[in-house]
């Protein structure tokens, strides 16, 4: 009797588990967009403008990080992954395994601003100094011309495309087999906003994020490739002119060749109107 009941319950449990696993196929006129926190505001603005033109298509945009978006694209729970770094080879291979070729489309450019408290006297750093600060070999502000005191290093969490991009292009200077890591005592904060808040109230902090997030409560430092090169401010003009050293493409990733509503949405994003939204949110348009 009791054994029978246990079997029933187990079956019920498995049925629920199996039901939870079945993948939802998104309806034809609804778009799920997911991924990079850097791009979530941008995606939202595009979605709002797009739904005004095509009221029949509903577009939902959520963040979580580039990695989250790609994991979701691979699991087919979203239609477009927003991604602030290029796909890794293994992610492309996983896509092929699941029966599609992930397609990457550059929809905007972004400059990563390195930010400090407005009262911090340091206003320019070289890429080499940044790498030393973020790997923990420079630990005091006096070594980079600031007021003596420990540097509080802020980074994004590992699920962030910004974290990966910064590690590969600043810490490792683009070397594929680089071994540099963020200092183990770097604080990993869950969002760009958390970094903005901490920098705004902590004169010893240094952090990084997309330049669209810089407000008057933070100060963006000018960055030079090396001590001999000119220091460049993170502005739209400098990213477009490719003189600002820490800039990157922002991507949409789709299941193969975009079709139907996905294709129409991407067309809109790349249209002059869509690219105008890019500049309005302080990112850099691909087609000026």
């Amino acid at each position: 009797m009791n054994v029978k009941m246990i079997v029933y319950v187990m079956m019920l449990g498995f049925a629920i588990a199996a039901g939870g696993c079945s993948r939802k196929q998104s309806a034809a006129n609804s778009l799920q967009i997911k991924g990079s926190d850097t791009m979530v505001n941008l995606g939202q603005a595009w979605a709002e403008a797009f739904m005004k033109i095509e009221p029949k298509i509903s577009v939902a945009v959520t963040g979580g990080g580039s990695g989250t978006g790609i994991a979701s694209l691979l699991a087919k729970t979203c239609d477009i992954a927003e991604c602030s770094r290029e796909l890794k080879a293994e992610e492309i291979a996983l896509g092929k395994q699941k029966g599609f070729e992930p397609r990457q489309i550059i929809v905007a450019l972004d400059g990563l601003a390195v930010i400090v408290h407005p009262a911090n006297p340091v206003s320019r750093l070289t890429l080499g100094q940044l790498a030393q600060i973020f790997t923990g070999s420079i630990r005091d502000w006096k070594d980079v011309g600031g007021t003596p005191g420990p540097i509080v290093v802020l980074s994004r969490e590992v699920n962030s495309g910004t974290h990966v991009y910064f590690k590969e292009h600043v810490l490792r200077r683009g070397k594929v087999d680089g071994k540099e890591e963020f200092a183990p005592d770097a604080l990993l904060l869950p969002s760009s906003q958390a970094i903005a808040d901490e920098v705004a109230q902590n004169p010893a902090a240094i952090g990084y994020y997309g330049m669209g997030y810089v407000t008057s409560k933070q100060k963006a430092v000018a960055v030079a490739l090396d001590a001999a090169a000119p220091y460049v401010e993170p502005t739209i003009a400098n990213v477009l002119a490719k003189t600002y050293p820490i800039s990157r493409p922002l991507l949409f990733v789709t299941h193969g060749q975009p079709q139907g509503p996905v294709d129409r949405f991407i067309d809109f994003v790349l249209s002059p109107e869509g690219q105008k939204i890019v500049s309005r949110l302080d990112f850099v348009p691909v087609k000026p």
Partner: protein, 292 residues
């Protein structure tokens, strides 16, 4: 016919109730099996020792390093700190409410503590991040306010309602005759409260403390917001730490299903499961001992 129907009804209700009981056990078992299935792969690949005592947590590097010692110590430090703050205050508050406070004040305090329990953890985390962090930073002159201590204080607020309300129940449940006997023997109010009532309610208070600690070690959102999440072995409570729970929450979204990072996060789940199991085991043992 009628008595038969009633018997049937009773039987159905009885079965429904026992079914609910069985379901909860089955779910725990299924969850544990699932954790084992997903997490054990990592132990095979990396070795139990390297996982538990490794000092570096670099999950997305090439090759990745999965050492959770800093995370375990971070969790223990935050939890220990929270217990040190919330247990004495919680027990004292429970004694005050149950034994000393006049009835009107008692009702007000009970409602207040229930309200504290109703605040969502993300709100407490937000307050901790915006107000408590900067305050502690200025108070101790430390470089950042996002530290283990900030986490401990924040979590103490969350453990307090559990501890107070359960301990208060235990104290109220002490038979009235105990108090009357003590007073009749010439004991003062304080002697009665501390030596008789508190001692008689000890098993219940212990259960309250353990449930409070269980709440603290499993808490994720608030901790992730206020502790800074630096995966380094902490040398003092005034340094940033990364806890087990915050690691799973922050990194789960990014992992590829079936990869070693994914397995590592499930292995952390197993470790958390074992830790709470030990806490419950200790509480159970202590409860039974004090009953004899």
């Amino acid at each position: 016919m009628k008595p038969n129907l009633r018997r049937l009804k009773e039987k159905v209700i009885e079965k429904a109730i026992s079914l609910s009981g069985v379901i909860s056990i089955v779910f725990v078992l299924l969850i544990f099996l699932f954790l084992l299935r997903e997490g054990l792969a990592l132990f095979r690949k990396e070795g139990v020792f390297a996982f538990l005592f490794g000092k570096n947590w670099y999950p997305i590097s090439e090759p990745p390093q999965f050492g959770i010692l800093p995370l375990v110590l971070g969790s223990l430090l935050v939890t220990g700190g929270a217990a040190l703050i919330s247990v004495p205050i919680g027990i004292a508050a429970a004694l005050f409410i149950a034994e000393i406070a006049p009835p009107r004040l008692r009702e007000i305090m009970k409602v207040g503590i229930e309200l504290l329990a109703a605040i969502p953890s993300v709100v407490i985390g937000f307050i901790g991040m915006i107000t408590l962090g900067p305050w502690l930073k200025n108070l101790f002159g430390i470089p950042t306010g996002l530290t283990a201590l900030t986490g401990s204080v924040t979590l103490a607020f969350m453990a307090m309602p559990t501890i107070v309300s359960i301990a208060e129940d235990a104290i109220t449940a002490v038979p009235r005759q105990y108090r009357e006997a003590a007073i009749a023997m010439g004991a003062t109010k304080w002697q009665t409260t501390w030596r008789i009532v508190a001692r008689a309610a000890r098993p219940g208070m212990l259960a309250a403390v353990m449930l409070g600690i269980g709440r603290v070690i499993g808490e994720t959102m608030a901790v992730m917001m206020v502790t800074g999440n630096a995966a380094r072995i902490p040398r003092s409570i005034l340094e940033p730490v990364r806890t087990l729970t915050a690691t799973v929450a922050a990194e789960m979204g990014e992992t590829v299903q079936g990869g070693s990072h994914y397995a590592a996060l499930f292995a952390i789940g197993i470790v958390l499961f074992v830790i709470t199991f030990i806490i419950n085991g200790v509480a159970d043992y202590a409860l039974h001992r004090s009953q004899h």
